[in-house]
């Protein structure tokens, strides 16, 4: 992926780290119809999202077509330290993927 699709931030505050992520993705359901051509717009959506801290998979998500365009996700975990990293990765139904690393602030 040439362009950056993930905006991720991680912030530490008194014992917990909060992760906020916004992914740029069309999340096409496969049910929409192009009004000009009458063709069905093929499905194109994120199926899997994982977020890791060191070797730990904190969160493993599986998404369907009910997730809207440019999906958003936020959660917190116990621990983390300023200067360390969390990594978020997504994979869509076409096999595209992207990942981004955030420094915990």
């Amino acid at each position: 992926m040439a362009t950056k699709t993930i905006e991720i931030r991680a912030k530490y505050n008194s014992g917990t780290t909060t992760v906020n992520a916004l992914i740029t993705h069309p999340m096409e359901s496969g049910h929409r119809i192009n009004s000009k051509t009458g063709d069905t717009i093929p499905p194109h959506f994120i199926q899997k999202v994982t977020c890791r801290y060191k070797e730990t998979v904190l969160l493993a998500a599986q998404w369907g077509i009910g997730m809207p365009m440019n999906p958003y996700l936020s959660f917190s975990f116990e621990g983390g330290k300023k200067g360390e990293h969390v990594v978020l990765k997504w994979t869509d139904n076409k096999g595209n993927n992207d990942f981004a690393k955030a420094v915990i602030k």
Binding site: S29, T40, T50, L58, A60, Q62, G64, G66, E78, K94
Partner: protein, 158 residues
């Protein structure tokens, strides 16, 4: 007549494209060991919450109205989109899933959580028809559910 045949063609094309993508998707899921589990296609294709839950968790006997499972969501989803927070106080919560019974694909999202994660997730979901949101958590080998009513204004353009 032209309209109908055009539409038929569109539907056929869509079906073909979906089939192709489905096959590719499955192939990839099995060939990449990096990400833990394969995407549960059958659960996402299920048309009811019960069926989706059975395919997803292998069980659909649910303890409903769990007070320790909370949903924060607006009463109206503007343009079909709602910002929601789901929160579980159930001990040993391992996963939380969001279902919208009124959607064509009721299973919206499934989140597996490490024990370090505070059992609260905020996200945005798409609501096709007014009805309810169902959140199901798995905790200590049992399933718990909680629901919240939601109304939607114009959904995403068809």
């Amino acid at each position: 007549m032209k309209n109908i045949s055009q539409r038929r063609r569109a539907i056929l094309k869509g079906a073909l494209a979906m089939g192709a993508i489905g096959t590719i998707g499955t192939g990839l899921a099995y060939s990449s060991p990096a990400e833990s589990a394969a995407w549960p296609k059958e659960a996402f294709n299920a048309s009811t919450v019960d069926e989706a839950l059975l395919k997803l968790m292998g069980d659909n006997s649910v303890i409903s109205g769990a007070d320790d499972l909370m949903i924060e969501a607006p009463t109206i989803a503007e343009n079909g989109i709602a910002h929601i927070t789901i929160h579980s106080r159930l001990p040993d919560t391992e996963s939380m899933s969001i279902f919208i019974p009124g959607n064509r694909s009721p299973l919206v999202a499934h989140f597996k959580l490490h024990k370090k994660v505070t059992k609260s997730i905020t996200t945005r979901i798409q609501i096709e028809n007014s009805g309810k949101i169902v959140v199901i958590a798995s905790a200590g080998d049992r399933l718990y559910s909680s629901t919240k009513k939601i109304r939607t204004t114009a959904a995403r353009q068809e």
